[in-house]
């Protein structure tokens, strides 16, 4: 059942569950962060409306900078602002930032320890009709391997707002991943959000598998846990991982010990993302069978977002199959 301590949206499993794009939380969070700290500035590379940076621009026009389609300049200008006492948030699509400007982020932001927050929008397969050029599925991997970088992946619009505000309260470089498509609202204002602290979303009395999920697929993971219990009596845990780095290793090990089998779920390549982070942690601390749900070394394509999720093996039935397989490997 849903963990009451996490105070989740009670309508999660209803047909009319509220759907909101995760990116909406960014716009709201920026305005809050900008109100709390006058050093917050926002730079955007010609995607002001779709990244929701517009909310900040309307409120604080003097602290907003339009950079044009120039993501390398976007990152390095932010670095210059960041070492001069400002706190820039840079907004673009994740394929371009951190995709195109990864080296500028590495040298001038991360190594340079500039206080810059990188917002990678339209990440994941559910960017949908735009096709694989715009479906960033490698960003978690390339950002979490970068020293000095914090990596956040909110699961809904409410968590996205909290993540944006949290980024402003966190010293140093932060990467936040956002998605385009409307997804179910999972959390509430009262759901805990602590940097580096996982949330147990679904819990049972005698779980045989622990599902770690991040971002947009959280609803699918919860549905899989619920259905598997109802259909086959297999009990599980679902753990929401909004902070990929620093990873909540204590919780990961504890959940693995409790269940003896693990599944990771993410709208990202199975290599190097959440699954990679969990596997590294468990290999070191408590070797456990793991099944990985995500993209398997392939690019996406154009299509309806939810159809793509199913076609590429990240649907509810795929998660259920992975859970059974992991539990069976004990």
């Amino acid at each position: 059942m849903l963990n009451s301590k996490t105070k989740l949206n009670q309508k999660i499993f209803d047909k009319d569950v509220e759907m909101k794009p995760i990116r909406d939380g960014y716009g709201a969070g920026l305005v809050t962060a900008g109100t709390e700290d006058s050093n917050v500035v926002v730079l955007c590379a010609d995607l002001t409306e779709s990244t929701r940076s517009l909310k900040f621009q309307e409120r604080f026009p003097e602290r907003f900078f339009e950079m044009g389609v120039a993501e390398q300049n976007l990152a390095a200008v932010a670095a210059g602002l960041g070492v001069s006492g400002k706190m820039p948030f840079i907004s673009s699509y994740a394929t371009f930032s951190p995709g195109r400007n990864w080296e500028q982020i590495r040298t001038t932001i991360a190594y340079n320890d500039a206080n810059v927050k990188i917002a990678g929008h339209h990440a994941g397969l559910m960017t949908g009709p735009d096709g694989a050029t715009h479906e960033m599925t490698e960003d978690i991997a390339i950002m979490r391997t970068m020293p000095n970088m914090t990596v956040l992946v909110p699961c809904d619009a409410i968590e996205a707002e909290k993540a944006t505000i949290m980024a402003a309260q966190t010293k140093g470089p932060v990467y936040i991943r956002f998605a385009r498509e409307k997804t179910p609202v999972i959390t509430t204002k009262d759901t805990p959000f602590k940097l580096g602290k996982n949330n147990i979303l679904w819990q049972t009395d005698s779980p045989s598998v622990a599902v770690f999920v991040t971002g947009t697929l959280t609803h699918n993971a919860l549905l899989a846990a619920k259905e598997l219990e109802e259909e086959e009596g297999i009990e599980s845990l679902v753990i929401g991982v909004h902070t990929i780095k620093p990873l909540d290793e204590k919780n990961v090990v504890e959940m693995a010990k409790k269940t003896g089998a693990v599944v990771t779920v993410e709208e990202h390549q199975v290599a190097g993302g959440l699954g990679g982070a969990i596997a590294e942690c468990l290999a070191k601390n408590h070797p456990t069978p793991i099944e990985f749900v995500g993209l398997r070394d392939t690019f996406g394509e154009s299509g309806n977002p939810w159809d793509l999720i199913n076609k590429y093996g990240m649907g509810v039935k795929d998660i259920k199959a992975a859970m059974k397989k992991a539990a069976g490997r004990k």
């Binding site: 500035v41 003097e62 602290r63 900078f65 950079m67 044009g68 120039a70 390398q72 300049n73 990152a75 390095a76 200008v77 932010a78 670095a79 210059g80 602002l81 960041g82 070492v83 001069s84 006492g85 400002k86 820039p88 080296e103 500028q104 040298t107 001038t108 190594y111 340079n112 320890d113």
Partner: protein, 287 residues
């Protein structure tokens, strides 16, 4: 306006630049790797900056109102380190730690390793962007400081430079003064063979910059150019400074093969002898 540059001070600066070249040779020989041509070519301009142009305080390197000197082509950092040491940012004895383990003097400059460095640089083409960020911050904070950005000519192959130039032109960032070390060489050869940059003045003009051209070894002319740039309030200014790579050491001058290697001990001795005698023009007691 900067303070007037009297003849006496000019002579002092020229002598200082020569000493700085000697220290560059010594530190490169000691390091056993590093770049020779660019640092020697830029010694006069670095001397002009740290001993006449910059509004800075080596004893208080984090002073918020200081002018910023952003070195975009980080590989010429030997001249930056030597000039900073001469200016009092850190002890000269530390110069011999260049490129060695546990040193603050990284092979390419790292901001958080050494107070007084404004950026981390090495990968080319991103310094002007960072200078733009600093200029925007100064504008938001209504600070009067100037942001000087030193770039190589070869790094203008990188698109990032032109993204920054376009943005600075659009936003009329007159508190930015860029200086291009126009020495015509890069690692693989002459710039006009590798990737032609000319007409470089016209390119910057087309990006809405004020453009000046100067002899990069004439400290007086360079200071005059900076004064003119400081008087331009409606645009950013770029000073294209023509320099001789390897300046002061006959066997290095204008030879692109000296871009990225240090002198051996023997070559170092020869180079120092040349610098001490101004390439044989004066007979020194060191001979």
């Amino acid at each position: 306006m900067l303070e007037p540059l009297h003849d006496k001070k000019l002579k002092l600066l020229e002598e200082k630049a020569n000493e700085i070249r000697q220290s560059i040779i010594e530190m490169l020989v000691e390091a056993g790797s590093g770049h020779s041509a660019g640092p020697l070519g830029m010694a006069d301009i670095f001397t002009a900056f740290y001993f006449h142009i910059l509004n800075h305080d080596p004893k208080n390197p984090e002073w918020p109102d200081r002018d910023r000197l952003v070195l975009s082509n980080g590989h010429i950092c030997p001249v930056l380190y030597v000039t900073m040491a001469y200016a009092g940012y850190f002890p000269k004895a530390e110069l011999k730690t260049l490129r060695k383990i546990n040193s603050r003097l990284q092979g390419h400059p790292h901001r958080t390793a050494l107070l007084g460095l404004e950026t981390t640089s090495g990968p080319l083409g991103s310094g002007l962007s960072q200078a733009v960020g600093m200029a925007l911050a100064a504008g938001l904070d209504k600070k009067k400081c100037r942001i000087y950005c030193l770039m190589s000519d070869g790094e203008h192959d990188a698109g990032n430079v032109w993204e920054a130039a376009m943005f600075a032109g659009k936003n009329r960032l007159s508190n930015i003064i860029a200086v291009i070390d126009r020495n015509n060489i890069q690692i693989d050869g002459h710039t006009e063979n590798i990737m032609p940059l000319e007409p470089l003045k016209d390119k910057y003009r087309a990006f809405n910059w004020h453009v000046l051209e100067v002899d990069g070894h004439n400290i007086e002319a360079f200071v005059d150019a900076v004064n003119e740039a400081r008087a331009v309030y409606e645009k950013p200014t770029v000073i294209i400074a023509h320099t001789v790579p390897g300046k002061g050491v006959s066997f290095m001058e204008n030879d692109y093969l000296w871009h990225g290697k240090p002198p051996t001990k023997e070559e170092g001795k020869k180079a120092l002898a040349e610098l001490r005698t101004l390439q044989g023009k004066i007979i020194s007691e060191h001979e």
